[in-house]
Symmetry: C2
Amino acid sequence: MRNMIIASTSTIHGTSFLSYLLPTILEEIKNQDIEQLLFIPYARPGAISHDEYTTKVKTAFNNSDIKVKGIHEFADPKKALEDAKAIFTGGGNTFVLVKMLHDLDLMVALRKKMYNGAFYVGTSAGSNICGLNMRNTNDMPIVMPSSFKTTGAIGYNINAHYLDPDPSSTHMGETREQRIQEFHAYNSLPVVGLREGSYIRVKGQEEILCGEHPARIFKQNHDAIEVSTGYNFAQITD
Amino acid sequence: MRNMIIASTSTIHGTSFLSYLLPTILEEIKNQDIEQLLFIPYARPGAISHDEYTTKVKTAFNNSDIKVKGIHEFADPKKALEDAKAIFTGGGNTFVLVKMLHDLDLMVALRKKMYNGAFYVGTSAGSNICGLNMRNTNDMPIVMPSSFKTTGAIGYNINAHYLDPDPSSTHMGETREQRIQEFHAYNSLPVVGLREGSYIRVKGQEEILCGEHPARIFKQNHDAIEVSTGYNFAQITD
């Protein structure tokens, strides 16, 4: 059964990296006697190196017993993924992340791990890859992946860092809601706009909204709706 | 020789569609005795139809003698493009625009027109395609083009609707500058951030910044610089 945390962001403004998610992650790790967390640093925020990004994650888990290891440290990343009991994919650029996962033939292996019950934590780009494709990322297409397909661990796409329109703005670029509406001119898949601080806790058949903010659901040919903490997204695709 | 207007946006807040560019466009059309403007509506802002978008452009030119015709109205769009003396590509979604231009085999034909002196006006997505590739678009990847390559009418990429960071923001998503810096971890091409209201007037070898705002130039391994109205971008790639 699935056991995942799909978070809009790694970091809430004014707090440290991962701090708001750590209690939930550590509880799960303790419950399952997990000794090692496999970190996927491929999204490279600010284009930092895989080592630098992994060090940042190690620091966040300094006060716990869990050992963090970057997937890039293994000679055979696919085997490392297949052996992992807990996996964390951090944010950065979704195009860079998806290109690496396809180039290294890891996307399908990751999907299998998610459905076979490995504990998975994704933040931002790491959450975008939980949907069926990456067509709702906010990132700049700085590299070209071989495919936009992602894991399909959930039956809809995530728009991470979802941002409400600023009514005082004079900027003429599209709002996030307009961009998602355009997506629905070409795609039928539902999209969940997850505000920073919100995450989806997936356990088996349940996909529960956690955190203090409501989330916004966009479905083709429907008005967007707001759903509150505790909502089960599994019903979206009914 | 090239004869182009490469604009950040079609519309400045509080003014009507194209109004700030119309005097320059109409002057050029008059000087060259151009009778017809070929409109490329493929970017479909808000996913409106090609007809609806073309009607919007026709309305903007209502008080002039120029006849506007959408490229989708021709049985052979490639021939329509090859025959055109003036071409306007409007904004919308850059992924949708680039996919259409590649699918219909129009990208190289468009490049040839630009270098052979057809009068070209681009706004937003229509300006993004003047660079060497579309890797600096702000748009959502709602469809997958066969390639990110664009016309290369200029030797750098455009970031249209360039937006300065908001120092009061608590949002954790990347700023525009951070996104372009990440681009330079994987790409060596310079990028010009064009603020809304700015445009580049290309005539032969000259590529002059027009409008009231400075523009921002990003080069790999260099700090970003601000340049004022009148700056010639042709020197960027020296």
